[in-house]
Symmetry: C2
Subunit: 333 residues, 2 copies
């Protein structure tokens, strides 16, 4: 649907975490990332070549992908200038922002003038049903986090990739704009109307072969008061058979909520498991996924060993060390 | 905003529960309910006078209120006939259905022709913020249910009425179409976009006097897989100081989910309290609200005594016996 490859627009991202959409594309579809475009003051760097619009166009880029989050914000004048110039140079634009491209009159006008397409991947394109809670065939795995942005999507993508490598039946099910941009389809869950959240997850993860696994992209956290409702809908709509606990050990408070501490992995497990059992009495916590990107190799190894001993579960960084042990843990289910 | 009084349209409601919007208006604003309008086969009866459109018009009705739920459904041809005739006779129409009046071309045309107004109270009219989780001044009480439709709204309305009678500072905060139709304002929470649910509840229940109580209308249930995400957002956005457990003792399974059992009140308490403490560490469960409408007087009294002894909390049916003891229980906070 969205023409590839992409030029990844990082704008004036305050930090690396704000550019996680672009990072996800680069990490999971590197062949689609021709380069990065940054504005002055940008605090993110994907270690891709910095390119002008013209340079990237010459390198084959078809779509300018807005690869940076703006927290409930607006599309700034500085961004607009680049986006309009991109349209003038023949790009399409794809965005997962709440603030829609299609709501910006000047972008719509420029797109019309130059024949470009504006893709708002956050907008649901389906009339989702209300969840019916019926038990579905096939297996489902969901990563749930102590906080937002701790590696839930990476965990699901890594487990899916590992299973595919092993020749197992597996599908990554995208529930956010990054996942949708990476895989080309999914449910933009945080933009779904409240009553239909769980139903949209049921829709996304339908009946399947008994030995097929859906790896559902997690969202938010039960402990993040801004987004916990979305997480709850994922747990009940997804009716997972397996939960993976996801954590980023250097986080000092809940993302965006300076007054809120992160829960322990034990608290996350003990909170999530009874809630997940409502939809699937057989659900089990199968492993722990630690995002060790801010730890050295030695620190990461030591931390994972400690968590593994403490929790009695395989604890890995699937991005750094592969998801093999997490996939092994699914075998028992 | 919506002109009163109303003629309450019950349509072909399959049962009494399906007409809970109309019942709520009749119970809490009886002065606004001129009569009821029923179609053949209607299984609901508000014990209001059945009136034709013309009779109700003559009795002063200004707005035809659709007082019946249709589960994610459509506006049928039989309904349309009545709605168009009502517009022709000079009524406005108000509706809380997902299926919007404004999306029905023939209703829009009739409204324009006859100068009537179509009110879709389910549609959010505010651009809600993302929740910031900051501690707000004032007190908040939230009823949480073992299931949907067990009396959470009635509990909040009754506690609000009782506090007002005592001269205490109190506001009922509507989060659903019935509450909004009853009070004239609120947040249509189940129609809010997922990411903004908790923020909309923060918006609805802002800083207030230290001795002021918001009685927040509950929605769904943590144990109802179709709507648990909405309930979660209410708990975290509302950051309640007090929780009231709500239950309907004759329910044999979760509403609309035949394969799902109701939790016990103990399980509800033990599940909700740790989740509520994330947003407000001081939250307490102060009482139990039992919907005894399907019990005799003796049965109700016996059941309430049993629950009160079991839970160690005041247990009342606020609609049948008044909310005095629940309001008393807030006094300690």
């Amino acid at each position: 649907m969205i023409e590839t490859p992409y030029l990844l627009f990082l704008g004036d991202a305050p930090d690396q975490l704000a550019a996680k959409v672009a990072q996800g594309i680069k990490d999971w579809r590197p062949e689609n990332a021709v380069g990065q475009f940054r504005l002055p003051g940008c605090g993110a760097d994907l270690k891709l070549q910095d390119m002008t619009l013209a340079e990237a166009k010459e390198a084959g880029a078809k779509t300018l992908v807005i690869g940076v989050a703006n927290r409930g914000g607006v599309i700034s004048a500085a961004w607009k200038e680049v986006l309009k110039e991109a349209l003038a140079q023949g790009y399409d634009i794809a965005s997962g922002l709440h603030n829609l491209l299609r709501d910006e009159g000047d972008l719509v006008a420029a797109a019309q003038m130059f024949g470009g397409t504006l893709h708002d991947v956050r907008v649901p394109t389906v009339w989702y049903p209300i969840a019916n809670g019926k038990k579905r065939t096939g297996k489902r795995c969901l990563a749930i986090g102590t906080d937002c942005s701790v590696g839930k999507m990476y965990t699901a993508l890594a487990m899916d990739a590992e299973m595919k490598e092993r020749g197992m039946k597996s599908t990554f099910r995208a529930t956010g704009q990054t996942g949708i941009l990476v895989t080309g389809h999914g449910v933009p869950l945080d933009a779904v109307i409240a009553d239909f959240m769980a139903g949209s997850v049921e829709y996304l993860t339908p009946d399947n072969d008994p030995d097929h696994w859906d790896h559902i992209e997690g969202q938010g956290s039960l402990f993040h008061v801004s987004y916990s409702g979305v997480t709850m809908a994922l747990i009940h709509g997804g009716q997972p058979d397996a939960l993976v606990l996801a954590h980023e050990p250097t986080r000092t408070h809940m993302r965006g909520l300076p007054d809120y501490d992160l829960p322990t992995l034990e608290t996350l497990r003990d909170t999530a498991l009874p809630l997940a059992r409502i939809a699937n009495p057989n659900v089990q916590v199968v492993g722990v996924s630690i995002n060790t990107q801010h730890l050295s190799d030695d620190e990461a190894t030591a931390y994972l060993e400690k968590v593994e001993a403490r929790m009695g579960l395989p604890a890995v960084d699937p991005y750094r060390h592969g998801a093999g042990r997490l996939v092994d843990a699914l075998g028992a289910l």
